[in-house]
Subunit: 152 residues, 2 copies
Amino acid sequence: MAGKGLGIGQVAQHTGLSVHTLRLYERAGLLAGEVRRDASGRRVYSEWDVEWLTNCVKFRTSGMPLATISRLAQLVREGAGNEAERLDLLREHQHRITEQLAHLRDCLDLIDRKVDSYERHLAAGASGDPWQQPPPASASPGAELAQQVGGA
Amino acid sequence: MAGKGLGIGQVAQHTGLSVHTLRLYERAGLLAGEVRRDASGRRVYSEWDVEWLTNCVKFRTSGMPLATISRLAQLVREGAGNEAERLDLLREHQHRITEQLAHLRDCLDLIDRKVDSYERHLAAGASGDPWQQPPPASASPGAELAQQVGGA
DNA sequence: CTAGGTGCTGGACCGAGGTCTAGGTCAAGC
DNA sequence: GCTTGACCTAGACCTCGGTCCAGCACCTAG
């Protein structure tokens, strides 16, 4: 309803970016479609701009570099005819997110196991330090303590 | 079998970090447990060190800042008694990973939809540009074209 | 003896992404 | 008229994580 044009401050609130960052993004060419200006030179963002920015934020926070977003924006700015290249960029990012997801799950797994181990450790009253290096057994090569280091 | 002590180069290969980065990590205090040195001052990493580093890499690549890893390393270095704080750090990170996973899934969702839309668009021979701003309808405030912008 | 390989240190440098400052314009409200 | 607040620009600055360099030490092989 409100409609037609938000100021940079409003857009900042809306997107979670700072006004600084909004201007940075503009300079960096992340915006598909020129931002209009009012009579006195202030930015006026359309609904569409805000939607675009919202997407940018998602791209960004999922690891797409500014340069890539900028490229994508450029393609969109140039209009129809380059959809294949846009698709390429998107698919590439899609792929990287998928990998990242797998990687994070893997890391989470490790953390989960550590957390678990510490929880059990604490619940059971301290005994041996889980996750401790083999104590400074200075002289002895000590293979006898390499038990649960990785598994703790 | 190989056992007892790897050089920095080997550890680099093993962990995927550069030797530069390994030294950086050491300076930054990421290593729980002093790295031993051989007679001529070269680092000698134990199996345990390498395992620790491997974990560090996972922490790092899942977004834990060096400072936090360093803190954790410090706690481990200080030995038993601070398990609760270690657990805190781990749980915090666990939480952030979980959030990050959710966030990434959300972003992936967006990307998936875009990719989909472009695929259909391309398969069907170009018609309208999905994901295009309302064309420069200069004079008309034009609410009539705000259809599938976000959903494209 | 000399070279090649590997390592050491300290410090400079880099790129990415943000953040902040200085100095100014403009419009509304008292 | 004056203040306040939102905005403008250009450019400096910051953090983080990492890379690279110079200059040196050491070891081993030819």
